[in-house]
Amino acid sequence: MQVYLDNNATTMVDPLVVKTMTPFFSEIYGNPNSLHKFGTAAHPAISKAIDQVYTALNAADADDIVFTSCATESNNWVLQSIYTDYIVNGDKNHIVTTEVEHPSILATCKFLEDQGVKVTYLPVNEQGIVESHTVASFITDKTALVSIMWASNETGMIFPISEIGEICKTKGVLFHSDAVQAIGKIPVDLQNIHIDFVSMSAHKFHGPKGIGALYIKNSQALTPLLHGGEHMGGRRSGTLNVPLIVGMGKAIELATANIEETSAKIRAKRDKLEDAILELSETFVVGDRDNRTPNTILISIRGVEGEGMLWDLNNGQIGASTGSACASEELEANTVMLAIGADNELAHTGIRLSLSRFTTDEEIDYTINHFKDAVFRLRAISSSFAKQKPTEGGEVQECELHHH
């Protein structure tokens, strides 16, 4: 058996989605901007996909949801164009975001800082989320944009987006959220929440890679990121990627139809897995279960380094993820882990397990067994559980030179 528990990284494309996409590669392949019938043949399918996305998010007809290549593009678009429209060509100079955003937000903010923009990176609490009063206290009359993720990729923790939306509305500040980890996992109703821009990505909800979208409330002005032809009403140039658009429409429909029921099933499996591995001593899970996306567990296991754990899980045909510094190219500890971790330990012992609607009970049982075996083996090797004390003078008082 092999078990894929890294669905916050990417998901399997639902075979129904693949089936919907297939005709748009070699049968209906015209450019939708062409006048001839080869071009217009794709129009009904594109219209349907647009409807599917609007319905899934309960967007109003006056809003725009513009297809992009990925959420990284959507995030770059919002930040870079807010900079152009409200900072270079306006009187604002400040952006508020959090320490735990995706690199496509953090790196873009760093880039804007190099251009002279002031950026506030809000800290998170021990639950890994930003508190709305913290957001309120950092907004000034120079703030152009507040950009805060809807749910965390690492912890699954859901941010108080509704409250932050109200704060931004009261203060008259634009509000953007990277909702990549929320859409398809929890209900997202864009008419129920005050928000100006929302980024999303199809491959996080069993759609294809290479397509995302940006929601723009009331079709408000935002300078394009990609200039070119008059695609998507001139908002985002580039020949419409028909198969991916059709795939994203189908995927979001499948992910959001009966979302309460589907997520309850995923949650039950997640909770079973979480309860079972919490039976192991000296383990803890980050964040309140009720305020987490129903598929995510970030667990710290004392004495077991994350990359070593990932290795043993991989040997057992289980795919998971770690924020351990050892698993990164630059040996940098994960910023999210450091932001919430007590004593840095979580940065090295955190393992993320993320389920999907395709995860089965058998896979959960299999994972529980292998997970426990791996912890048992690695703790048997671990110096953290050794019994013979060091020779006098041989103890380590602190990290010596190994400070992070």
């Binding site: 380094e305 090797i381 953290s384 013979q388 060091p390 020779t391 030179l401």
Partner: protein
Amino acid sequence: MAKDDLLGASLWDAYSNKVTTLMNNPQHQGEIFEADVEARGNQLIVADFGAESCGDAVRLYWEINPKTDIIINSKFKSFGCGTAIASSDIMTELCIGKTVDEAVKITNIDVEFALRDDPETPAVPPQKMHCSVMAYDVIKKAAGLYKGVDAESFEDEIIVCECARVSLSTLQEVIRLNDLTTIEQITDYTKAGGFCKSCIRPGGHEKREYYLVDILADTRREIDEEKMKAAADAGGNAAFEDMTLVQQIKAIDAEIDESIRQFLIMDGGDMEVIDVKSSDENIDVYIRYLGACNGCASSATGTLYAIESTLKEKLSKKIRVLPI
């Protein structure tokens, strides 16, 4: 960045088979207990290095025959990734059978080499070289405990890059000899900074006492100061003729910088020294004019005369300046 870098290599694919095998099944993992060692009339040394909160920790056990100083058995415990476990395992194997004095000579490079499948292919990707350094550090600590001395006393020079074991004096020498000006050049020449990157500049994986950026800046400053001094000294005595070719060129360069170049640049020109050839009667300095000097009428007359007389006065009467 080029074609090969477009798809970053998978970390685990870069591990040798030995690393993989030992991670899956370490041979010397375990503990040695005080009571058992005492019963055999031997001495137990247990040393820790690193800590869980730092991301890697290792505990090394040595059972030593006090009459011969030979490490008759060794085990380890490790909190760490696959390469840390494999490095610890091979480290204990390298220790067994050696005297403490021999064991303390084991370096992280020996540990990494012992993990290779073939001598040409590194056992771990560059950023994982760091794990083998832990092995080296804990051996020194254990030896220090046994001999009752400070672990640092085994190190007779200051190591700047622990992964590649490059010392401060080596770095300074290589920068000087090859006239290096960038960190990339230092890494190419010495491998320093090519692994975990902590030693390049502050803010990396771990805090260091010395950083390559500072060493480079300091050494460059020293080189420049020496150049100035050499030029000044050369001007003051007749030793110019006894200098090596490189010293002569440097002294001429310094003199041109000091009293000639600024006037050429004011007129939109410049010059460079191409070669110096010495015979019994003459020291011929071949120069090339640049910019506006090139083809200027004065470059063969007044300007040339000014350059030659300055060098004659400051460096040697035997100098002739020949534009080419």
